[in-house]
Amino acid sequence: MRFLLVEDNRQLAKALCERFALDGHVVDRAHDLTSAQTSIRTVAYDLILLDIMLPDGDGRDFLKTHRNRQGKTPIIVLTARSEISDRISVLDLGADDYIIKPFDFAELEARCRAVLRRQGGSGNNEKKFADIIFDSNKGTLCFGEHVEDLRNRELRLLEVFFSSPNQIFAKTYLMDRLFSFAEDVSENAIEVYVGRVRKKLAGSGAKIETVRGIGYRMVQN
């Protein structure tokens, strides 16, 4: 997955890129419309994150030209404007979604995921481990003749395990990935979701193993 972030506030852009990098996404930065135009001409991005107020113009104009040129890359608008009419107008102009600053990164991720899923996805979302094919875009787990649909939290948990099989992930790390800052949950809450994922993996060539006192890891049977 390769994203383009068009945002003139350099600190925010930097922080967002760092945040994306933590989850293993590659994000290119553009600080104005001109460099954004150059970037989309040279690289095929999977998704564009677009700010509205930019030093050399209005992000909505970029949106319009992009759609007029039959640009297929989905766009999520990052807006600091709170007027509902503004938000509706970006959707009318062809944005796939919008998110209001400041936002919960998990929500941005969820919106990106939803937009990419609507887009149909480009087969490179599949990850393989043992006899399992995990498609994070479709939210499915396949092994043998078996296809399991995953709920959102199961999917996000599996994303972590599939990103680095055999690696031990601490409970707190997994919790940070699954729960929002608004939720006060105990460490045991993660066990519920690990339990569910184990059920879905039953019969496959992989399993989630508890490493006592540390966390969990995905290993081959």
């Binding site: 760092e18 945040r19 979604d97 969820a110 995921r113 939290r153 929002s180």
Partner: protein, 460 residues
């Protein structure tokens, strides 16, 4: 009320003024016609009386020194041509009544005048018109003055005069009525451009601040110019405040976004639970302040718009569907299932789409916020006498707080201090539905857990 009494319509003022003029003119017309006609009738009588007297005088002759008279029949019959009035006559020679009614008074006239003298007197209880005429009749060596007096009652004249009066009255009344009717039309056409101007201004939506360009008579040009000037100033002022809000929001939200994202990065890299807790509190504070700012701005917008709704035809099914699509990613994060139970046919109402979106979004946002993970939020739209949009969740409900109080500003449930909120969501929804003549219904769920909020809007 006082203002209402002072408000007099230009149209009625014009009608009343024109009617008064018409009445005065009708009266003048009536008086003039009557005076002329009566004068003409009186002159006719006088002429015939004079002719009668003259023909009597012409019939005087002298015989053996005495004045004699062969009263010509025509002299009296000609008086009968104008009416059936009684005729009296008296011929006096040297103060001796020659013939006729000797009590008929002789008008005090200059004896030597040869011109007829007219007077109006009373004779035998009736008003009479009298003509007296002197004639010298030669009786041999000296001429004798003979006075011929002819009188006629005026009943015929009175009848003629009353006939003339009634037709003059009829004509005057007719004239007045026609003039009043025409003044109504005139007043109507005089205020038509005003009405057109009023319509073109009142028909506008609340956001239409374009200058008025309807065709207007020159008298209204200063008013319309003033109105357009006012509109331009209002537009400029609104644009300024809108720009200010947008700019303010941008300037507050962008740094908050930076803080929040950086805090998240730091949080992920931290090891010590104590430090993590602190950063977590920081992130929550950012969320709280941005949410409050957002809700306050939204509440301000809603209050502004509810004064003048920008009404359009909206399909509530589409509206709810769109908002569900919009919040689905947020629901997914908590594995919340959205259960939509919408009626199949379109539910069209006239309303302000921005406001209704805001109301529905706020209610749904609350439901998601207070719902636990792996729960279901049921949205239904029923059509009865009115449209009822119901949102029921499996959250914590209101913890004994009186649901009716929750629509008040900054009032929140008794059990939600751990969840970020501004206490404005239900207030916004309540103001929106009330502006659409609907109402908000808040209660605990039937199953005992969770909240159930209904937006009820009349079918328009």
């Amino acid at each position: 009320m006082e203002l209402g009494q002072k408000r007099r319509s230009i149209r009625w003022r014009l009608v009343i003024q024109l009617s008064i003029i018409a009445a005065v003119m009708s009266l003048a017309f009536f008086l003039a016609v009557r005076a002329v006609a009566e004068q003409a009738a009186a002159d006719t009588q006088d002429d015939i009386l004079a002719a009668s007297a003259t023909s009597i005088a012409d019939a005087l002759y002298s015989e053996r020194g005495e004045v004699r008279l062969e009263l010509p029949y025509s002299a009296l019959s000609m008086l009968g041509t104008i009416s059936e009035d009684q005729v009296f006559y008296r011929i006096v020679a040297n103060d001796v009544t020659l013939t006729g009614y000797d009590d008929l008074a002789i008008p005090a006239a200059q004896d030597h005048s040869r011109t007829p003298v007219f007077s109006t007197t009373t004779y035998r209880g009736a008003e009479v018109r009298t003509v007296a005429m002197s004639r010298a009749v030669s009786t041999g060596n000296l001429a004798q003055d003979v006075t011929v007096v002819v009188a006629q009652t005026r009943l015929g004249l009175a009848a003629t005069s009353s006939r003339i009066t009634s037709s003059a009255t009829a004509v005057a009344v007719g004239f007045f009525l026609v003039a009043t009717l025409l003044s109504l039309f005139a007043a109507q056409s005089a205020v038509t451009p005003l009405n057109r101007l009023t319509k073109s201004v009142t028909r506008r939506g609340p956001n239409d601040l374009r200058p008025v360009v309807s065709e207007i008579p020159s008298e209204l040009v200063p008013l319309v110019d003033a109105l357009n000037g006012f509109l331009a100033r209002l537009r400029a002022s609104l644009t300024r405040s809108e720009e200010f809000i947008v700019e303010a929001a941008h300037r507050i939200r962008t740094p908050l976004a930076t803080v929040r994202t950086q805090a998240e990065v730091v949080y992920r890299q931290m090891e010590k639970p104590k430090n993590k807790r602190s950063v977590r509190e920081m992130i929550r504070a950012v969320d709280e302040s941005s949410r409050s700012a957002g809700q306050l701005l939204e509440h301000a917008m809603v209050s502004l718009r509810t004064d003048q709704l920008d009404t359009q035809e909206i399909d509530l099914v589409d509206l709810m569907g769109d908002i569900c699509e919009r919040v689905r990613p947020t629901c997914d994060l908590k594995d919340i299932h959205l259960n939509l139970d919408l009626c199949a046919q379109p539910a069209k109402i006239l309303g302000d789409p921005i406001l209704l979106q805001s109301a529905v979004h706020n209610i749904l946002d609350n439901a998601i916020k207070y719902s636990p993970a792996d729960s279901t939020i049921t949205l239904s739209l029923e059509k009865g006498d009115s449209y009822r949009m119901t949102f029921s969740d499996q959250g914590r409900g209101f913890g004994g707080a009186d649901p009716a109080n929750l629509v008040h500003r900054f009032t929140r449930g008794a059990n939600v201090s751990d969840i970020i909120g501004s206490g404005l969501g239900l207030t916004i929804a309540d103001e929106v539905v009330r502006a659409h003549n609907g109402y908000l219904e808040i209660k605990q769920n039937k199953e005992g857990i969770g909240a159930c909020v209904s937006l009820v809007l009349p079918v328009s």
